[in-house]
Amino acid sequence: MLRIFGRLSSLNTQKVMFCVYELGLEHELVAAGREFGVVDTPDYRALNPNGLVPTLVEDGFALWESNAIIRYLCAQHSRGDLWPEDARERALADSWMDWQQTQLQRALHPELHSLSSDPGRFTPERIEAARMRCETLMDMLDSRLGQVPFVSGARFGMADCAMAPPVHRWMNLAVERGTYRAVEDWFGRVSQRPAARKTLPAGARHGS
């Protein structure tokens, strides 16, 4: 059985759990990180020396880095569906997953994440700069989703599992936001999926 160490308030754990539910995999979610601790124990560090969540353990094989976990699970269980067989379609999924991780998630953290967990930690100028950066990135994603119904093209796939949690986080922040019709349309469809309902916190509850 799969074991996933993480907490559902973590974006990276949400991404992996969205994928696990999409694939219908039998699993156990072991609470770890933040208030749950665990991540600093020698046993956890032996699985994941980087000390973050999530970590996947499958028959003795330990994997960390959320997007690497998503790629692995989809390649194992959903070739030709969530994991595109076509190299170019897969490359576009990969590209947007990398963008989600290196651009979007970095724009959300730490300034915007702090709004609910530690308000006052950053100056209004820092918060505003991060908010503007997110608007620019949402504009990019909006252009993409104006051309194709899902992140990597015509079908729902692994890139949508990775993208939905940070977009959900952004949409629930107490900040001003522009209108992104294609993103909102996409999110409306993706968030109706049973796996999304099990993974994304309802309403405006944020962790970070």
């Binding site: 020396p49 880095e65 990969d94 290196t102 970095r106 252009s143």
Partner: protein, 206 residues
């Protein structure tokens, strides 16, 4: 012929150059980014709305994000060689590639930019030292990973070594103090003995 946009002192562009040379694919490279500009033109933004380098155009297929490009080139041209066919070995390679992008590079940027791209009188010594300390510790994870393994994903050279070579070349050549990391140094020597690295990772870091 495959087209590549990007300047050679970008570690992300260098990943793609190494992938292309390791595979042996001919390509045409155009300097872009920083002093070369290009990446802010409407033509470039139409290809890559994110506006960073590198970008490739492979017979009409445009792709950006350096690790996605490395995965794509290796999957199409070097499956079973640099792109591991075994899902767990491939996941191992993927994980260290992602770690390079999500962890190692962000923590190294302040010390690299401070020590190499900022005149001495404008440097933020505290930010440089904080970045250097964190990077030095993170490289320790890679050192532990390489204990008992010839390459990052195991016994064979893979896309993960391609993606990590430029940043490790940068780190090992930065003018700063580093904890000795015997496994990383042994790995770096073996990577540098390969023709693609020997040819491309030659210039001083800038």
């Amino acid at each position: 012929m495959l087209k590549l946009w990007g300047r050679l002192n970008s570690i992300n562009v260098m990943k793609v150059v190494l992938a292309l040379d390791e595979i042996g694919l001919p390509y045409e490279r155009t300097d872009a980014g920083l002093q070369f500009g290009v990446n802010n033109t409407p033509e470039y933004r139409a290809m890559n709305p994110n506006g960073l380098v590198p970008t490739i155009d492979d017979d009409g297929f445009v792709l950006w994000e350096s690790n996605a490009i490395v995965r794509y080139l290796c999957a199409v041209h070097a499956a079973g060689r640099f792109w591991p066919e075994d899902p767990r070995v491939r996941a191992d390679a993927d994980r260290w590639m992602d770690w390079q992008g999500t962890t190692l590079n962000p923590i190294m940027v302040p010390s690299f930019a401070g020590l190499v791209r900022t005149p001495p009188e404008k440097r933020d010594a505290a930010a440089i030292e904080a970045s250097r300390t964190k990077t030095d510790a993170a490289v320790g994870l890679l050192d532990a990973r390489l204990e008992g393994r010839e390459y990052i994903a195991g016994g064979a050279f893979s896309m993960a070594d391609i993606a990590l070579a430029p940043i490790m070349h940068r780190w090992l050549n930065m003018p700063c103090e580093r904890t000795p990391r015997p496994q990383v140094e042994r790995w770096y020597a073996s990577i540098m003995a390969r023709p693609a690295c020997a040819k491309n990772l030659t210039r001083p870091i800038t």
